[in-house]
């Protein structure tokens, strides 16, 4: 009995591949609507140039956290899509570092649909975008870390990172 319990505990998590693809595109598009982005900069998907930029990096695809099936055969899956947003820059002053951190923290607040002040204006994400993939609906986006300096190179480039997770629900009938 203990062997079966151990096996269940160590089973590889299931991945919602179709959901992962849909979320990657939608989340990247959503981030590019954030009014706090520096002028001329856009969020790229899973890429950063050596000199600088902002990139969205998914961690592992959308993991199916739970599956509930009711007596009519209707299935509700709760899926988690962990991701990071990395802001690469070559700051010369602490003020520039602070601005990078504040930008990412503000982005995280905005993704959580909290009000955030950008250029003296309060902005708030009114609703999450549709996923256009089956019956998948975004439930929440939340930060799992504050913004921090993840790495620094000898030539002065620094990667500031904020981690988050997007939770969505997928429903279908068996």
């Amino acid at each position: 009995m203990a062997d079966i319990a151990d096996e269940q505990q160590h089973q590889a998590p299931s991945i919602d591949v179709t959901g992962s693809e849909a979320v990657s595109q939608v989340l990247c598009d959503l981030l590019n609507t954030f009014s706090g982005l520096p002028r001329g900069k856009s969020v790229q998907f899973s890429t950063l140039s050596a000199k600088g930029g902002i990139g969205l990096f998914p961690a592992a695809g959308a993991v199916i956290q739970s599956t509930q099936k009711d007596i009519t055969g209707h299935v509700v899956q709760r899926c988690i899509y962990p991701f990071s947003v990395i802001y690469r820059l070559s700051p010369r002053t602490d003020a520039q570092r602070m601005r990078a951190k504040e930008l990412l923290d503000a982005m995280g607040l905005w993704l959580e649909r909290q009000p955030v002040v950008i250029n003296s204006q309060t902005v708030q994400l009114s609703a999450y975008p549709e996923l256009y993939s089956g019956n998948r609906v975004i439930d929440s986006i939340s930060r799992t870390s504050p913004a921090f300096c993840n790495s620094a190179t000898q030539d002065g480039a620094e990667d500031w990172l904020i981690a988050g997770q997007l939770v969505y629900v997928n429903e279908f009938d068996l």
Partner: protein, 174 residues
């Protein structure tokens, strides 16, 4: 000699979705409106509550007196959805504190085979009594109990039109 290499596939369990339960949301209204129970319900049982008395005489003989059943079932959780006719009736019962005939309706239990064909259907008079209203942050809930009153009749059930036709329903002109 029997063929020892023949392997017979074991019989498959019938999926829970093939035993369906419907409540008439009109509660005795002019137009019967059967709605299926089961959304958000991972488990639903009709507890038969059999009444059985056993006695042993001085000769060591057992006698069993089976008087009948007192069936009832719990529907919990039951989440409120917009435009759900059953929810509208439950709100009416709760808000007007209805009792007795105000809570009477009919329930149809249907067994289908794995092809979706109705094998049998029974309709019974029931009393629907909400047990609470409110719930946690997952959504507004009105769990209720269904008490069987009797008058159980066999018949046929059209899954598409959700229409029950009693088996003894033959036109008889005096």
């Amino acid at each position: 000699m029997p063929d020892t290499n023949t392997v017979t596939a074991p019989a498959a369990k019938l999926a829970r979705k093939y035993y369906a339960h419907f409540l008439d949301a009109s509660f005795g209204g002019s137009s019967v409106n059967y709605v299926r129970l089961g959304k958000d319900l991972e488990e639903y049982n009709e507890e038969l509550n059999p009444e059985v008395d056993t006695a042993e005489n001085i000769l060591g003989e057992m006698s069993v007196n089976h008087k009948g059943y007192k069936p009832q079932s719990e529907v919990s959780p039951y989440y409120v959805y917009e435009d759900d006719p059953l929810c509208e009736k439950l709100w009416e019962i709760i808000n007007e504190r209805k009792t007795a005939d105000g809570c009477m309706t009919t329930k149809v239990d249907v067994l289908l085979d794995s092809t979706g064909t109705v094998e049998w259907a029974y309709r019974e008079d029931v009393l629907v009594v909400p047990t609470s209203a409110g719930g946690d942050t997952s959504g507004v809930q009105i769990p209720f109990t269904i008490y069987s009153v009797g008058n159980r009749v066999a018949g046929s059930f059209n899954i598409s039109t959700k229409t029950f036709t009693p088996a003894s329903s033959t036109s008889s002109t005096p």
